[in-house]
Symmetry: C2
Subunit: 427 residues, 2 copies
């Protein structure tokens, strides 16, 4: 029963019913938070072994022979770079380790483009205008960084295959003020899609007018599969080698959603020439990253197989939560024709598109009833969703029972907002 | 017997003797490094308890109730801010914690001045010219940061009371392109002096022409006493409050030389208005610092008394090493009138001034014989010591016996270079 096809009387009844359910829910006085992609405590317990490491003094000096407690080793421990090399599919000698935040590594790269420029080009701060391509919906913190530096953000529609490459190819070829493009290529935040092989190839083959154009390839969910039929992402680094475009890309990943969000290890991969640019800044900025934390991770994970088996544990906790979200949506909204959602094979989000003009209303209704969702619009540059339809659902943090309740409320609010809107259009 | 007063014959003899001793030493084929202020392994062992913490899950949630493994808490855990508040003498609510590097926090502050400006002023990148005052000899990495951003560095002579305040007062009052001044106010790197009360008061009372002038107050050695008569530093923050100049200063410290250089906790203190500026950048740059490492430090140190007792242990290891350096210099160079050196009450360095024009020669002779010292000139902006006389001795890292050997070589090289110079002036 499509909502839009109901008679006025039926629609009014549905609306009243939704309002009643909403008020009932509100009276429960719940306090739930689904705003951010935060792992839950059970997930964090999976990596407790990280903290068990580093007890015997002999452990501090392994690796390249340095005492890992002391200063030095600007690009991080070889064994940890090896693990990231496998995750990111970039050679280990082109990997630089940071501290706990890949976002910080991205910010610092953008900042370096702003203050010093890339590849010998003029720093972005000296250029009249700087624009960044922002496939949308996308990751709000990416957009936050570009907004902080005052770059103009150009939204790029997300298709099932990834960003609209026709548009990107045309824009970067004709406009040399376009200096970058944000990408979450696997289990994209929030849409959950993985870029198609063709999309990856077209990124590698881009012919930007700007020599200092950089793709920010944030592979945050590279090993975050949640089904038996995981997506596969073509290796951009290898494709770039074919076109000689490896300078166009900066690769990022972290163990934030593998070990600990607040105390993991972040990494950056880059071409030899980009590494030279980055090295000068990084060795001026710090005498080295936290190597003890890298060592903890090495002792716990051993190698990439340690990562895979840990991720299996994450899947066991997360997969049922994603099913709860998808089942709720299907069960409570499936026939109404007022919402579409993703069923991703991995990552951290379910992408919900409600009727145009209803997302803000839904998020605000939920908030009033005690369930915090990501702000409507946050997944678009400047927080402006042109259709006001996109809502990001982050199922990882709440316990299953709370998630069920929160999803029930969300579905009530979607029905309430949709019927409200349809009625207002009729009268 | 002053070397300069010797006859030509005597001087030639002294020179030949030094050359002979030098060649003998060289044939030993030693490999010693005194280049950096790195703590030795025994010092690092003092803080092993940091790594013993964090085993029971109940420990992760103490503090403000957050799970410290997860994202969040942009300014760090309250208990650790409390410890830094005592060390830095700045209120805990004005302290922001970083990861393992105070240098990185300084770099990022300078970078923020460059990209966004302070106090609503134009970003430094938009200003025609930016200059920084560099009390010299000083810390090479400070100068490295200012050089990286292309600022003009103005050397300021270091007196026994701290930087030449007459000069600083005049320069900042008349030149609004002077945007900052580097300071290591206690046990200064490398001179070892502590700023006098009057110097601190005059810093607080500065009337800079530039509204966005910022003093970089790097209190790296605030608790690093090495004698029973430690220096005391007047509290700049309190003094600034008297003059209403608290926006002029950014305060820095870290546990790099308390717990672990590579895995400590860094902190920044700032006025309320500066904190607002910094918060916008930091919360865009990262979702929070490594709180588990902060928690480790809290569980090990408990409070400021834990810091004091730990520093007592450092003193027991370092004090004898400083005595070896000072005794060698006194014993081998004391009567020759060719060198002066500091006898600091704390910190990490002994400052050696050799005859003008001899520092590079001495450092290069030492290197050739297997002892690496800090590059001559490194303690001055652009690596340019106008007198070519300053050498920084870092006694902390080598074991005592190696330190004795290295000092012996250094003294030989000072005699060799001085006699060589005096001879060349006579013939």
């Amino acid at each position: 029963m499509k909502l839009a096809l109901q008679t006025n009387e039926e629609l009014t009844k549905i609306h009243q019913e939704a309002v009643k359910q909403y008020e009932d829910f509100k009276s429960l006085g719940l306090q739930l938070n689904m705003a951010r992609g935060k792992p839950c405590a059970e997930q964090l317990d999976l990596a407790l072994g990280v903290l068990e490491a580093l007890r015997a003094r002999s452990e501090f000096a392994n690796s390249n022979g340095d005492d890992c407690r002391n200063y030095g080793v600007w690009n991080g421990l070889p064994e940890m770079r090896e693990i990231f090399s496998k995750m990111m599919e970039v050679p280990a000698d082109l990997i630089i380790l940071g501290n706990n935040s890949s976002l910080q590594m991205m910010f610092d790269c953008i900042s370096q483009g702003f203050t010093h420029g890339f590849g010998g080009c003029q720093p972005w701060c000296k250029q009249e205008k700087v624009k960044f391509l922002c496939p949308s919906p996308g990751y709000d913190r990416h957009f936050g960084v570009t907004e902080y530096f005052g770059f103009e953000m150009i939204p790029i529609p997300m298709l099932k295959t990834g960003p609209d490459m026709d548009l990107i190819e045309r824009l970067v070829a004709e406009d040399d003020t376009i200096k970058g493009c944000w990408c979450v290529p696997k289990y994209s935040n929030p849409t959950g899609i993985t870029y198609s092989d063709e999309t990856v190839r077209r990124f590698a083959a881009l012919k930007p007018a700007a020599k200092d154009f950089r793709i920010m390839w944030d592979n945050a969910y590279c090993v975050h599969d949640l089904t038996d039929t995981p997506d596969t992402l073509l290796n951009l680094y290898d494709e770039c080698l074919k076109y000689g475009t490896e300078d166009h890309v900066l690769f990022f990943a972290s163990t934030s959603k593998i070990s600990f969000p607040g105390a993991g290890v972040a990494a950056l991969g880059a071409s030899k020439s980009n590494i030279e640019d980055l090295k000068r800044r990084i060795t001026t900025q710090t005498i080295g990253p936290d190597k003890l934390n890298q060592l903890r991770h090495i002792l716990f994970l051993h190698d990439i197989n340690g990562v895979y088996s840990l991720m299996q544990g994450h899947r066991e906790i997360l997969e049922p939560k994603f099913h709860i979200v998808e089942d709720s949506l299907e069960h409570e909204l499936g026939e109404l024709g007022i919402a579409k959602w993703s069923e991703p094979n991995g990552g951290y989000f379910v992408n919900l598109d409600v009727m145009n003009g209803c997302a803000k209303r839904v998020v605000s209704l939920c908030k009033e009833a005690g369930v915090i969702l990501t702000d409507a619009g946050a997944t678009f540059p400047y927080g402006a969703d042109p259709n006001d339809s996109n809502i990001r659902i982050a199922p990882s943090f709440p316990p299953q029972e709370e998630l069920r309740q929160a999803m029930h409320l969300l579905c009530i609010c979607v029905r309430l907002a949709a019927s409200e809107k349809l009625l207002s259009e009729r009268y």
